[in-house]
């Protein structure tokens, strides 16, 4: 309807394996980036940027991390919250030791600590899978939660037991702390998210990503045709935890400003798993859609009674939110196991051939 790709021929292997083979899709991507980088910072209100866009991006990044592990490699994990915590705490320790260093660099480095921890807890996945793996990731979750409380070195021995984000600069601009403007923080988060999404996309479409998907589809068969499960599974754990760790560091440094262990508890792990399921297992677009959906849903539910004049208190909203999310999870798993990403693809296809469906 809106566009036709008639006349666009692929004349080389490079063109054939492009992620966006159609010109209009590439234009659409540039358009989204234009909106995200230029329009929203210029016209978005502080509230919109601070409590909608930044958390959305952070959770989208964490979902991408989990999606690599669960959606692409088929290893279900309930430890995402804790791996985010590892990223956050290591970024905090790094910036304590290197206060002059560029905070963006430190945030990117902190992911490597999460990756290392993730690989340690990913080791059992070589022998076990399915529900058994859920238990080992839960072990990671509860053990790390305990460590965040009981090892005071992690939060610099302060009395509150929380990590407070100090004021830090990058490229001469204040990017963290109370005096950083929402727009600056938003742009930093957006740049990192876009960069890591690009990296993740390339990994997934490359050799390593294909080995992940082979492991997911049938690990024994994959092993027989020459994929080494050790490398495939551990690399998936490493990449996934790296991304989750960076997301956790971003969450604390550029959104919350201070965090206690509650910010990384098992409920957050569930939340991110839900984003991945609703958005679509094994889809990067789905990670964004799922994060947007789950993050926006309570905001919308809160807004509806205000508009219609109904008087519903906050806890009821929360409970209804739980019910809707739970019901939607079941609904999506029954009707469309590939989630919102699949609906998006169907809608695009329908529009593409409209009004001639054949």
């Amino acid at each position: 309807m809106i566009y036709r790709e008639a006349g666009q021929f692929r004349t080389s292997y490079k063109q054939d394996s492009a992620i966006f083979p159609i010109l209009q899709d590439r234009i659409a991507i540039y358009f989204y980036l234009f909106i995200a980088f230029i329009v929203i910072p210029l016209f978005g209100s502080d509230f919109f940027i601070n409590s909608m866009m930044i958390p959305f991006l952070v959770f989208a990044l964490a979902s991408i991390g989990l999606n690599i592990l669960t959606g692409y490699t088929g290893q279900i994990s309930l430890g995402t919250g804790a791996f985010m915590g590892v990223g956050a705490y290591s970024a905090y320790k790094l910036t304590t030791y290197f206060p002059e260093a560029n905070i963006i660099l430190l945030v990117m480095l902190s992911g490597f600590f999460a990756a290392a921890i993730g690989m340690v807890f990913g080791l059992p996945s070589l022998r076990i899978k399915g529900f058994y793996l859920v238990v080992t990731t839960l072990a990671a979750q509860f053990f790390l939660e305990w460590a965040f409380i009981r090892i005071p070195w992690l939060y610099n021995y302060n009395d509150s037991g929380a990590i407070e984000v100090p004021q830090r600069e990058a490229f001469g601009i204040i990017v963290t702390g109370a005096s950083a403007t929402p727009t600056v923080r938003y742009l930093v988060v957006l740049s990192i998210v876009v960069f890591l999404t690009w990296i993740a996309s390339n990994l997934i479409h490359g050799r390593i990503g294909r080995s992940w998907m082979m492991i997911r589809d049938m690990d024994i068969a994959a092993e027989l045709i020459g994929v080494r499960p050790l490398y495939a599974k551990l690399s998936a754990f490493a990449v996934s935890s790296y991304i989750a760790g960076v997301a956790g560091a971003l969450m604390v440094f550029f959104w919350l400003g201070a965090a206690e262990v509650e910010s990384f508890d098992v409920n957050h792990s569930f939340l991110i798993l839900f984003m991945v399921i609703l958005g679509g297992l094994g889809s990067l677009v789905g990670s964004f859609l799922g994060a947007a959906f789950i993050w926006m849903l309570p905001i919308v539910i809160r807004a509806i009674p205000k508009m219609t004049g109904l008087d519903i208190n906050a806890s009821t909203v929360e409970q209804i939110n739980f019910m809707i999310i739970g019901a939607l999870i079941v609904f999506f798993l029954i009707i469309e196991p590939h989630g919102l990403a699949r609906l998006w693809a169907i809608a695009k296809q329908k529009l593409r051939v409209w009004p001639f469906p054949y």
């Binding site: 088929g74 279900i76 059992p124 022998r127 076990i128 399915g130 529900f131 058994y132 859920v134 238990v135 080992t136 839960l138 072990a139 509860f142 053990f143 939660e145 305990w146 409380i149 009981r150 049938m218 024994i220 068969a221 027989l224 098992v266 569930f270 798993l273 839900f274 399921i277 806890s315 009821t316 929360e318 409970q319 209804i320 939110n321 739980f322 019910m323 809707i324 999310i325 739970g326 019901a327 939607l328 999870i329 079941v330 798993l333 029954i334 196991p337």
Partner: protein, 318 residues
């Protein structure tokens, strides 16, 4: 050197010098273990019959306990409230079978597992909406359960036994015996085992899958109600129980997913091991180790015996 002493010698010296305290700790662990075992039993029941790993078992425990207390607070006598709560669990079983499981036959087991996570979120939301989020106390006395405690003189000291704990252990034993009888001797029990072995073969000899699933979810609901009463009597009924119920997962790992005796023994090992470790070694690590000890034990155990103590050996084919 002192650290080594604290790890390898001191706890055992303490155990030897104060045997009554050790017994008390073991008894506490035993009771906690019984409760873990009861929750794990609910998981095993459903897993055996339908291959679904029911994540919602924990919230079903909370739901059962809450509806019992809720009915009682609405003015219903205790015995009737018990029956009504059973009715709620039955309705829930039928509802889950109708609305969720029936549509998910032949799906990948991970998909089914995630569906039960969705289900548990739905139940959390609706439970809080109906019963309110605040903590409630269990109607222990009204149900005719014993309260109070007995002090025993053992090994030159005392051990305190709460009557409710004894009752919990006894009821758990009766429940397990009843379930074993049900599975092995009754017609429906045999059908259940047939379904667990092979869905298609069971269908072909005329067993109704839908009916069996409703029955097994109801059985899990009964176990959930018993667990809810016992747990509620020890501490109060609240949604925090749902996180504690996750502890049944390492219990299952130890015992194997398909074995009822495994669930019991796994529960006892985890319960007692956790208490011992917390009391004697926890201090070295800044306490609070109860939260993760069970999981780490399960993790280490998995490395060496992935199918659990009593589980069937996992054979995979391409």
């Amino acid at each position: 050197m002192e650290l080594l002493y604290n790890i390898f010698a001191d706890p055992f010296v303490q155990m030897a010098t104060m045997p009554d305290f050790l017994l008390q700790v073991l008894w506490e662990g035993f009771v906690t273990g019984t409760l873990y075992a009861l929750i794990a039993l609910g998981y095993v029941l459903i897993f055996k019959a339908s291959g679904v790993f029911n994540f919602a078992q924990g919230i079903m425990v909370v739901f059962a306990a809450l509806s019992l207390v809720g009915f009682y607070q609405a003015g219903v006598p205790a015995w009737l409230a018990l029956l009504l709560a059973l009715g709620v669990m039955g309705l829930m079983a039928i509802g889950i079978e109708r609305l969720v499981l029936r549509h998910m036959v032949n799906q990948n087991e991970i998909i089914l597992f995630m569906a039960t996570i969705g289900l548990s979120y739905f139940l959390i939301g609706s439970g809080e909406l109906i019963f309110g989020g605040e903590t409630k106390s269990m109607i222990t006395e009204e149900l005719g359960l014993p309260t109070g405690s007995t002090v025993l003189d053992v090994a030159g000291g005392i051990v305190i036994l709460q009557h409710i704990d004894v009752a919990a252990a006894v009821i758990a034993g009766i429940l397990v015996a009843a379930l074993a009888f049900f599975f092995n001797k009754t017609r429906i029990g045999r059908a259940l085992r047939a379904v667990a072995d092979d869905h298609q073969a069971a269908l072909s000899v005329g067993i109704s899958l839908n009916q069996i699933w409703a029955v097994v979810w109801f059985a899990a609901g009964i176990v959930a109600l018993a667990t809810g009463i016992m747990w509620g009597a020890r501490s109060d009924v609240s949604f925090a129980l749902q996180i504690v119920a996750l502890k049944a997962l390492p219990v299952l790992i130890l015992g194997g997913f398909t074995s009822i005796p495994g669930a019991i023994i796994g529960g006892l090992i985890i319960g007692m091991g956790e208490k011992l470790f917390e009391v004697y070694w926890g201090g070295l690590m800044g306490s609070g180790v109860e939260g993760w000890f069970a999981y780490v034990i399960a993790l280490i155990f998995l490395m060496f015996r992935p199918q659990g103590l009593f589980g069937e050996k996992i054979i995979e084919r391409v």
